[in-house]
Symmetry: none
Subunit: 220 residues, 4 copies
DNA sequence: AATGAATGAGACTTCATTCAT
DNA sequence: CATGAATGAAGTCTCATTCAT
């Protein structure tokens, strides 16, 4: 407008244009955001990197997500939801025993669809920055807590069942949380040194050492 | 965007003598950088946040560090060196047995001077961003490898000594590396949920379950 | 910074640089803002139009005024203060009689340094936009009120002195306020149709018709 | 920037039939434009604010007005035409005497349908911006001139009839033009301080002081 | 006629870097 | 050594305009 008053309206190049349902566009943009964060980090992720990857225009992000902050947050929420649904499903599909359920949750953390280097990069990008951590906690905390509590319950059941003399269930559950994070970080940082399978086995080995009658040690 | 994240500046001018030896200035600026990254993240850390915290002028950073990239890298190197020297010293000061040495290294990771929330924030800031990770690996990898190899050696010694039937030493050492990272991340993200002491105990409990004759389980 | 992490720092062209005292820079930028608003309106005034006119860089506006809104407001405040000081001075320098003082205020409104087309353009730019009017009132109202009250007092004195049977002093003062605005708008909109001198005479003629014994009618 | 100024949107969707004759749509959109300019100023008026107020889609503006510039201009023309028709009608409906006709024109300027704050806001929005002023003059000048010339004629008639020794008719007519603008601006800027009625009386008082035998002073 | 998703130029703002003092 | 005003590239966001449906 301001421009209009000074010089005259600019002509516009015609481009192939397609209107897609909002979910498709949002999904495209979230995928591109994951891609961009994996490649350049959050700091290196700009509206341009995202839209270039998506093959869409910058204005569209604002149209669908209002602003960059939202795009990032919704990307995180998308991953959290995906992660949550995945281990929740695995948990419910698992056998009846507590140890089967617990292992299902462990496995879910290293499932090839969940434990991608790209997706890990996004998680750790949010962990890595002071300001983002607040956002992370606001958005994700509840989900993490749910899993933590569930793990405690399962461990308690196993301890009761086996009559184990081990640290309290909450300590073991906290250990698991630490291991998920730590091993995933190692996968992210040292791709050659440790694989999803090995990480999974690390945790199974740990659980086997704690609950030897219930959980079998993996072969290394 | 960054502004949104970086909540409010907490300036903290310290009077500075007009002329200081370079090492003092560099140290001041590195401290301020740690402070700033802890408070605002790398993305929210600008030359201004750093120099304001340090009570110095922007030009000075350029004088002492050439540019921002260098300042960040040297901050990371400073922390890495501090960390390295600390566990190296602990390792050498420890008793003669392998388990004492191993525990000394573990303890070093949760020593109050090393395992500060501010310093953890800096580590995870570097882990969190794709571009930084490359830098990190270039600068720090050797140190990590040294510790990893050392841990393997110690574990092998303990295994040999105790005749344990456990996963290979490298697996246990990798587990330790994962636990350092994972538990420290938990300390950083959930300050109320887990303390340095508890994290340390988590690892001791793990080692106790693997090497019961050599390492005593902590009380919870 | 973000850029730095991806590609490398860009070289910088060297330019003649001079550091001026802040007041000088601020003044330059305010002058340029007046110029720009006069030429393009507020809507057409961008950071670029202002800094191009001033021959300075865009970043400098932010350095000295924080943001555009401030620049505009301080420009308005500058004009208001200039205007205020001018008629205040004229009022105090005037003869002892009420009519002399009143005419001094009138004259001040059409003084060549005050009643410039450029400056009028800025005033009316602020009058013209809903949002700006609020700003205007917040910043300037007090000054307008002061003059209005002063005019009422002077008119009352003249009425008392002459024993005039005329509308209340407040009505005459309000009329003056309306005339200042209306005639200045006419000067702004129809430069060929009415001059400062003529506008001034319009008001003098009006006052002469109200206070014939005290104020002489101008010749047309 | 504009957003800062435009406080909060007050959407007001009216259900609209799918297809309306062009005049209806144009009228709807012009009304919405007036509403929007009054609320947000020209700078804060976007295609969206207008179409939201009208309860129509953005594309429709382009369909009916080609572009924003046209919409604004036609809004101004609409107001000008309305204003013109109103005082022209009042002039023709008035009594036979010159003073009756002159007062009819004066009254028309403060008629409740004409002298709305919303409509005044639009006028002054156009006065306020350099670029718009040119547009204004191109579109409206003739109408203003017509009224100015008419006023001169009427004043001359009254002067001749009363044998008044007053400033030339053109000076009085110019004064009237100035008063219309100035008092309307005061109504716009200081809604509590001056009403339409009072503004009208201000002008009548002025005319009464110039043409005492023909025009009666209002009571205050 | 009407809709509104999509585009992209351009505005505002931030901030690393430079350099006169 | 030290300062901080100045620069300008780059990022975010807005919004007039287009056009497939």
């Amino acid at each position: 407008m301001n421009k209009t008053i000074r010089d005259q309206a600019a002509p516009r190049k015609k481009a192939a244009r397609r209107t897609e349902p909002p979910e498709v566009r949002r999904s495209q943009l979230i995928d591109a955001t994951i891609e961009s964060i994996a490649a350049y980090g959050i700091g290196g992720t700009t509206m341009s990197t995202v839209t270039e990857i998506a093959g869409l225009s910058v204005g569209l992000v604002n149209f669908h997500f209002e602003n960059k902050q939202n795009l990032l947050e919704e990307t995180l929420v998308f991953l959290a939801r995906e992660h949550h649904e995945h281990w929740k499903q695995a948990y419910m599909d698992a056998g009846l025993s507590a140890q089967e359920k617990l292992l299902a949750i462990v496995d879910a953390h290293f499932h090839p669809r969940i434990c991608t280097r790209k997706k890990l990069a996004v998680w750790y990008a949010f962990f890595g920055e002071a300001g983002r951590r607040k956002v992370y906690r606001k958005l994700i905390d509840g989900i993490d807590d749910e899993r933590f509590d569930l793990s405690i319950g399962l461990c308690e059941e196993i301890i009761r069942d086996g009559g184990y003399d081990v640290p309290p269930a909450s300590v073991i559950a906290r250990m698991l949380e630490g291991l998920y994070d730590g091993l995933q970080l190692n996968i992210l940082m040292y791709p050659g040194h440790i694989t999803r399978k090995q990480a999974n086995n690390q945790i199974r080995a740990y659980l086997a050492s704690v609950f030897p009658q219930h959980i079998a040690a993996p072969a290394f």
